[in-house]
C-alpha cells in the first residue's frame, strides 16, 4: 500500500482540486474520512485550542503537536497534512519537526515564514523572518524527510506584513529552495485569490477559513480558480462549538438534553464511530473472555 506521503502527493498533483477539511483530534479526523473526503488537514491552531484552550501563539510543544497528529493518523486511513508551524525554532528544530511528523505518519506538513513567536495566520502582529532564513528552513525540511514524497508546503505570511508582491516573491524563493507546494496565507481580495494559482511552477494551496481575512469561497469556486488543494481548517471545530454550546445551554436551562436527542449523535453512533463492535469481535476472536457485551 502506498504511504500517506505518496498518496497525498499524488492527490495534490492530480488535475482535480484536493479538498482537505480540518480536524483537531482523532475523532474529528475520523469524521472527515467518514464523510467521504480523500484527505484531512490537521490544524495546529485548532488542535492546540482543543488541547489547551489557549491561543495559537506557538505555546504547544513539538512533542505535544506530533502526538496529536499521531493519534489522528492512527484513527484514519487517508492522508493527513499536518501543521509544522514555523518549525519550532532553528533549522535544526525544523529538521526534528519533519522527522517527528513523518514518524507520526503525516503525509506532509506546511512550514511558515513567521518568527519563532508565531501567531495564527489571520491574527495581527505577525513577525516574519527574512526570505533567506525561511528558504534555509525549507531546504532543511527537504533534506530531513526520509520519504522523498513527504510533502513540504511552504507557507508565507507576508501579505499582512509586507504586502502581496513580497508574499509572491518570497513564495518563489521557497519553491527554488525545494518546496513542493506554495501556500500564500490570508489573501485579502478577489484579485489576489484569482492571481495566486497562476503565479507558481508548483501546485498552490488555499486556506479558506470561515470569517477570516480571506473572502469565503465554496469548493466549486476554488476549483474553478485553479488551486491544487484547499484546506478548510475551521469548519469542524466551529460546528462542534456551536453544537456543544447549544445543547449545554438547553441542558442548563431545562435540566434535560432530551429536546435535542433527535439531532444529537446516539449512544450507538458513538460506539460505532470508535469501533466498539470491532473491538468486541477482536476480544472474541482472540479468546479473551468478555463478561457481557457492551450495550
Amino acid at each position: 500500500m502506498a504511504t500517506n506521503a505518496n498518496r497525498l502527493r499524488d492527490m495534490i498533483l492530480a488535475p482535480e482540486l484536493l479538498v482537505l477539511p480540518g480536524s483537531f483530534d482523532a475523532i474529528s479526523a475520523r469524521l472527515v474520512e467518514e464523510s467521504g473526503f480523500d484527505a484531512i488537514y490537521f490544524s495546529g491552531g485548532l488542535s492546540a485550542s482543543a488541547y489547551l484552550a489557549m491561543p495559537d501563539f506557538g505555546t504547544r510543544t513539538l512533542t505535544e503537536a506530533s502526538a496529536q497528529v499521531a493519534g489522528a493518523v492512527a484513527a484514519t486511513s487517508i492522508p493527513i497534512l499536518a501543521d509544522g508551524e514555523a518549525g519550532f525554532g532553528t533549522v535544526l528544530s525544523v529538521q526534528r519537526m519533519v522527522r517527528e511528523m513523518e514518524r507520526a505518519g503525516a503525509g506532509g506538513i506546511h512550514l511558515e515564514d513567521q518568527s519563532g513567536a508565531r501567531r495564527c495566520g489571520h491574527f495581527t502582529g505577525k513577525e516574519l523572518v527574512s526570505a533567506e532564513e525561511h528558504a534555509g528552513r525549507i531546504r532543511a525540511a527537504v533534506a530531513a524527510r526520509s520519504n522523498p514524497n513527504f510533502v513540504i508546503v511552504a507557507r508565507t505570511d507576508a501579505i499582512a506584513v509586507t504586502g502581496f508582491e513580497d508574499a509572491v516573491a518570497r513564495a518563489r524563493k521557497y519553491v527554488e529552495a525545494g518546496a513542493d507546494v506554495v501556500f500564500v496565507e490570508a489573501p485579502e481580495t478577489r484579485d489576489q485569490l484569482t492571481a495566486l494559482p497562476k503565479l507558481f511552477s508548483v501546485p498552490v494551496l488555499l486556506n479558506v477559513a470561515e470569517g477570516s481575512k480571506t473572502p469565503y469561497l465554496p469548493v466549486k469556486e476554488v476549483s474553478r480558480l485553479g488551486y491544487a488543494a484547499a484546506i478548510y481548517p475551521c469548519t469542524t471545530f466551529f460546528a462542534s462549538l456551536f453544537a456543544m454550546r447549544r445543547v449545554l445551554k438547553e441542558f442548563k436551562d431545562t435540566g434535560s438534553s432530551k429536546a435535542s436527542w433527535g439531532e444529537m449523535a446516539s449512544f450507538e453512533e458513538w460506539q460505532t464511530l470508535v469501533g466498539v463492535p470491532a473491538a468486541m469481535a477482536q476480544l472474541d476472536a482472540f479468546g479473551v473472555p468478555t463478561s457481557a457485551p457492551v450495550r
Binding site: T59, T61, A117
Partner: protein, 326 residues
C-alpha cells in the same frame, strides 16, 4: 500522594542508625513541607548549598544517597538522554517529563533547568506551572533568545533586558506555590560583558527573581565582583567547559555565593566509566577485567528500590505466596 513510595525509600536511606528497622509504610505519608519550602530554608541558612547535577532518576538517587541536600537537573544532560545537543531542540514537554521522574525519585529539592522558558512570556507562564506540577522546587530561566544554546557555547543571542524582566514577572506570577523558587539566569557576560550582566541581573532581582545566576564568569575578578554586587542569593555554576575557574564550595561561600550547581560532572563521570568498560569488553570479549570496576547486581536492585518492594510484600503478604528476593 504520588510520592509516598519514594519518600519512604528516602527515609530508609537516611536513617541515622545503620541496620535500624525502616519506618513502616504509611497509607497517607505525612508531607509536612514542600521541597520548595525546603529549598528556601536551605537558601536562607548559613552554609552554601551544593547541588550536584542529575540527568535521570538513578543519578538523582545517587546524589541524594551521597548526602547532598539538593540536586540540580541538567537540561543539557537530559537532552543527551534523547540524543540531542544542548541547542534548544528538546521540547518543554520532554524536559518536564524528566523533571517529574527525577522529582519523584528523591526527597530532596530539585532545581531544574528551564532554558528560556521555551519561548515568550506565554510559554514562560505555561512552563513554570508545568515544572511546578512536575514537583521540582525551583527553575532557572535565562535571557537568551529561543531556541537557546548551552551557556558555555559562543554565538548566543539575548532578548532585551525589558523582555526578560517581563518574563521574570510572568514566571513569579505563574507559580501557584509562593515558595517555588524562580532563578534568573543572565547569559549577557559572554555577549555584552560583565557590566551589562550585572545591570541586567539587578533588574531581574527587582522584577522578583529569588536567586540570580550569572552564566560563565571567566575570571576570579568577575566572580568576586558578582559576589559583592547583589543582596539576593547568588548561584554559581561550577561548569565543565573550562571557561569558568575552578573554585571550591568553601571559596564560593566566602565570595558571597549561596548555591553551587555542578550540572554535568556526574554525567561526565558516567560517560568516562562506561566508555572504559566498553573498550575493555571490545578488546577482551569478556567481563573479567571490568567486574571490579562495576557496581553489583545487589547495588542495582537496591538503587531501584527493591527493599521498599520487599517491605511492602512483607507487610501485605498474601498467605502462601513467596516474597521477592535476590
Amino acid at each position: 500522594m504520588k510520592r509516598g513510595g519514594n519518600e519512604q525509600l528516602t527515609q530508609e536511606r537516611t536513617a541515622d542508625k545503620p541496620g535500624a528497622a525502616p519506618p513502616a509504610p504509611s497509607a497517607t505519608p505525612i508531607r509536612p513541607k514542600t521541597t520548595a519550602r525546603r529549598l528556601r530554608e536551605l537558601l536562607s541558612g548559613e552554609d552554601i548549598v551544593i547541588a550536584p547535577g542529575a540527568f535521570n532518576a538513578f543519578s538523582a538517587r545517587l546524589v541524594e544517597r551521597s548526602g547532598f541536600d539538593c540536586l540540580y537537573l541538567t537540561g543539557g544532560g537530559t537532552g543527551l538522554g534523547l540524543g540531542l545537543p544542548d541547542v534548544g531542540l528538546m521540547t518543554m514537554t520532554e524536559m518536564v517529563n524528566n523533571a517529574g521522574v527525577v522529582a519523584d525519585a528523591v526527597g530532596v529539592p530539585v532545581i531544574s533547568d528551564c532554558d528560556t522558558g521555551y519561548g515568550n512570556v506565554v510559554n514562560v507562564w505555561r512552563s513554570v506551572q508545568a515544572f511546578e506540577k512536575a514537583g521540582v522546587a525551583g527553575v532557572h530561566i535565562e535571557d537568551q533568545t529561543f531556541p537557546k544554546k548551552c551557556g558555555h557555547l559562543f554565538g548566543k543571542q539575548l532578548v532585551s533586558q525589558d523582555e526578560m524582566v517581563q518574563k521574570i514577572r510572568a514566571a513569579c506570577d505563574a507559580r501557584k506555590d509562593p515558595d517555588f523558587v524562580i532563578i534568573a539566569r543572565c547569559d549577557a557576560l559572554l555577549v555584552n560583558g560583565i557590566e551589562d550582566a550585572i545591570r541586567r541581573s539587578q533588574a531581574y532581582a527587582a522584577a522578583g527573581a529569588d536567586v540570580l545566576f550569572i552564566e560563565s564568569p571567566r575570571t576570579l575578578d568577575q566572580i568576586e565582583l558578582i559576589g559583592r554586587s547583589f543582596d539576593v542569593p547568588l548561584l554559581f555554576n561550577m561548569a565543565s567547559s573550562g571557561k569558568t575557574p575552578t573554585l571550591s564550595a568553601e571559596q564560593l561561600h566566602d565570595l558571597g555565593y549561596k548555591l553551587m550547581i555542578l550540572p554535568i560532572f556526574t554525567l561526565l563521570a558516567a560517560m568516562k566509566a562506561i566508555g572504559e568498560v566498553l573498550t575493555d569488553i571490545k578488546a577482551t570479549g569478556s567481563i573479567e577485567t571490568i567486574r571490579e570496576r562495576c557496581s553489583t547486581f545487589e547495588d542495582f536492585m537496591d538503587l531501584a528500590g527493591l527493599p521498599f518492594v520487599q517491605e511492602l510484600e512483607r507487610r501485605y503478604q498474601i498467605p502462601g505466596e513467596s516474597l521477592t528476593s535476590i
